[in-house]
């Protein structure tokens, strides 16, 4: 009751510009993270599935490292560990956040695409070879469109996780939505107002994103699964 009684709508309105600014950064992080995770996952997933020497093994280690450590540790490692290790470099935290999101999403997506490519029945590749396709053309025309579609549902879940992980960048002071909301809490003790903003915004965005991607998924799915 007291929460509702003291809930100050006008405070949210007051903070609208700061919050919008934070939301913009969240979108930027998510866009870069998802695009990067797609590219990394596609390339390394293919390297894993087709056992391209060296790259495949390195990708395997990378995937294990990322999947078996907390993402917060990865963020700190990149933010503080890497500049130390490389001595001179001090990365901007926005860059660190992007790298962390791409590395995290890329690792999960590597597995998604690996599984997708491996699930393409061999007989389709053989049919292509028999028609005179070379190995690379077979990959581009057969394995990629079929395996990519098989990988779609699981990679969509990865993209949604990448989006939600942007909130963790609060830990390295990137001015994304969660962080600006937290700053407002620290400054003005308007805890409920800001938590409400965060909950409603993330829920709406993730739902919308999911709905959009599922729509895309339905359009891209193999014809027999539409």
């Amino acid at each position: 009751m007291s929460v509702l009684a003291s809930f100050d709508w006008s405070y949210i309105w007051e903070r609208r510009e700061v919050l919008a600014e934070g939301l913009k950064v969240t979108f930027e992080l998510a866009a870069i993270g998802i695009a990067g995770a797609f590219v990394v996952g596609l390339l390394l997933g293919a390297a894993r599935a087709y056992r391209i020497p060296v790259i495949s093994q390195l990708a395997g280690i990378y995937v294990e490292l990322i999947r078996n450590t907390p993402i917060l540790v990865q963020i700190f490692l990149i933010a503080y560990g890497l500049p130390k290790a490389t001595k001179s470099l001090q990365f901007e935290f926005f860059t660190v956040a992007c790298v962390a999101l791409v590395l995290w999403g890329g690792a999960f997506n590597t597995e998604n695409f690996r599984a997708g490519f491996e699930a393409v029945p061999k007989r389709y590749n053989e049919a292509a070879l028999a028609l005179g396709f070379g190995r690379i053309r077979t990959f581009l025309n057969i394995s990629l469109p079929i395996g990519g579609r098989i990988a779609l549902p699981s990679s969509i879940n990865t993209y949604i996780s990448v989006f939600k992980n942007t909130a963790l960048m609060t830990a390295i002071s990137v001015e994304e939505l969660t962080n600006v909301a937290k700053q407002s809490i620290d400054l003005d003790f308007r805890t409920w107002e800001m938590i409400a903003v965060l909950a409603v915004t993330y829920l709406t965005l993730v739902w919308t994103l999911s709905a959009l991607i599922r729509l895309l998924e339905r359009r891209l799915a193999l014809p027999e699964e539409r």
Partner: protein, 272 residues
């Protein structure tokens, strides 16, 4: 009967298209092809029969370079294709194969299945490819199914699209690996009719099949394979009616009779 008909067509040109010399293929300890010699002449329908596991599929896959051989040589149109450094993709473009399981690309419409290799490998413009594909789909009685996806087609229709897809590359030789074995019995005829018409148009064909009626009526030459060897070879009617070898006799006794080809037509296949 029918064999004389197609033999007459085969008379004028008798240049050899494929020759196998002492071909050996092993999977580990499994000696799957054990010294196979055979010659297929131009415009000939060369039928291969034999029990399951005797190496028939492997034989076709070796001719198409989908499997490497351990010993022996394979010639295609006078060129040794098993030599080191042979361009497998270029050779496979000239040899069509149709599989038991159709293997149509599931993400593409029938017409795109037919045109894909021509467009991507031969760089044929899409308009020209579509035009040619429609002709071929018409030939197999499926013009109006051009826009259907494989899963929307019956097995017999899928198999006919697969034949059109192979023909699109204008092969000099067509390999058929038990192409009716995965079909419901009532769909077998429509595929066999397409193959018969193709044979009559002068295509050189190697046909692995259990359809003895087809072998007898359309085949020019027939071999019986068992345990990786050619046990018996001759005119289809001779081998099927008067097998010399006991193993052939045993095998034939177990094989079934099917409806004569004259009773079948591909008309009903298109509008199912």
């Amino acid at each position: 009967m029918g064999s004389e008909g197609s033999a007459a067509v085969a008379q004028p040109a008798t240049t050899e298209v494929v020759r196998l010399e002492d071909v050996h293929k092993r999977f580990g300890d499994n000696h799957v092809l054990d010294g196979v010699d055979l010659t297929v002449d131009s415009q000939q329908v060369f039928v291969v029969i034999g029990p399951s596991g005797s190496g028939k599929s492997t034989l076709l896959r070796c001719i198409n370079l989908l499997e490497p051989i351990q010993q022996g040589r394979i010639f295609f149109e006078g060129e040794e294709i098993t030599r080191k450094g042979a361009n497998a993709s270029a050779i496979r473009q000239r040899i069509g194969i149709v599989f038991q399981q159709f293997n149509l690309f599931p993400h593409l419409k029938a017409i795109d299945n037919v045109t894909l290799a021509a467009r991507r490998v031969k760089k044929m413009p899409r308009g020209k490819a579509n035009e040619r594909a429609r002709e071929l789909l018409g030939k197999v009685g499926l013009e109006e199914k051009a826009a259907s996806f494989p899963h929307q087609l019956s097995g017999g229709q899928q198999q006919r699209v697969a034949i059109a897809r192979a023909l699109m590359m204008e092969p000099q030789l067509m390999l058929f690996d038990e192409v009716t074995s995965a079909l419901d019995p009532e769909l077998v005829g429509e595929v066999l009719v397409v193959m018969r018409d193709l044979a009559q148009s002068g295509m050189t064909m190697v046909v692995v099949t259990h359809e003895m009626q087809f072998a007898r009526e359309v085949g020019d030459r027939l071999v019986f394979m068992d345990e990786g060897r050619i046990v018996e070879e001759g005119k289809p009617a001779d081998v099927l009616s008067n097998p010399r070898e006991e193993r052939t006799r045993q095998f034939l006794r177990r094989s079934l009779q099917l409806a004569p080809l004259e009773d079948l037509s591909i008309e009903e296949g298109g509008n199912e």
